[in-house]
Symmetry: C3
């Protein structure tokens, strides 16, 4: 299976479509290519106009839902990348930063991030093995449980 | 108008001057050039010796003040860049990370970051359209309401 | 003294050895080389299987202990780098991001980060002078007091 087939399979498992417009407000862009690199803005689990999971992880939001939210963030980044250059042009995933909106005492940020890492590995194989930083933050935009940004290298 | 003229105009609108020394303590540097890139350390809204806005956004600090603080952070980064290479050498703004010291329940981190994005767009035009990550953190150094770091590409 | 000698001296001052396996769970890697750059995943103060300092800085954990924890994070990154390419191949430390698990009202994130910066400067000299972002976050994985990630440039 090609990368796009795996992408579509994961979309189907999650139960969401990622072919709608990916909106941003403000004078910035969700994706920027420069000199062999792709930078992707922090993605929250938004599908269309809706943030599909909202709340604080460890109180309102359980680990499993937070993991699903993390996967939606990755799928948005992959959808953006596919439109900009095609998934086949990704040579390496250099770094992801995973910000988890965390309840006091919630320390499983790595477990949330693992779900994001799994999607990258399923789609890209060895080229999807990346470096990662996971932290627990106090608040995220739109009460999102997770926000993830990305740096890819392109062929 | 050239970039430096727009920079000066924004400084005048904000009511601050950015031609003083930009101090750092510790064994690090506010700006580092490497191989076509400029990395800028996390900037807080300090002018001279004073952090000009302090407090938690959403309780002590209102959105408008936080937006002004975000603009001061960007102006510091631009002042550093102007001294190091000149604003005209900036080819692209690749990424900014915006950390907002947030009260519980404050979810307008993106709106704070929009004010930063606006300054970059005013000064650089299309070259100022960047990727961005905005998160709400619990505490920032010196009780700053906002901290922003930057990666630029140079000509 | 060579870099590795200084590294060993700091290890001895800290009272820890860094020659054990550096484990990660999940589909990611602690270190990734790409095209003249080394990206290092967020490091917590783990030695072997134990996180050697745990807790919230400013309440459970005092500044001095947090500074030591920050130094252990850096030493882990240096140990990883030494195995991958050798410390002598590091040309520049481009950026570190320092996340401090902070108590309400704790604003000395920069002072924690200074301890990390000092290790980089001791080992690399001028090549260790980096850009830095320090923020206070609400929770870190495994209740770590500090997490630090890194971007190095290689010769």
């Amino acid at each position: 299976m090609g990368r796009i087939d795996i992408f579509n399979q994961i979309a189907s498992e999650l139960g969401y479509g990622f072919d709608g417009e990916i909106k941003v407000g403000g004078n910035y862009t969700p994706l920027l290519r420069h000199d062999g690199y792709i930078y992707i803005s922090g993605q929250i689990p938004r599908v269309g106009d809706a943030v599909v999971v909202q709340g604080v992880v460890g109180s309102d939001v359980q680990l499993k839902e937070a993991q699903k939210a993390a996967q939606v963030c990755v799928m948005r980044a992959l959808a953006l990348t596919d439109r900009a250059v095609g998934l086949d042009k990704v040579k390496a995933v250099l770094r992801i930063s995973v910000f988890v909106q965390s309840a006091q005492g919630f320390t499983q940020q790595s477990e949330v991030a693992d779900a994001a890492s799994d999607v990258l590995y399923r789609v890209f194989g060895d080229a999807g093995v990346h470096t990662r930083t996971s932290v627990g933050v106090y608040q995220l935009p739109k009460n999102a449980p997770v926000e993830i940004d990305f740096i890819f290298a392109t062929l």
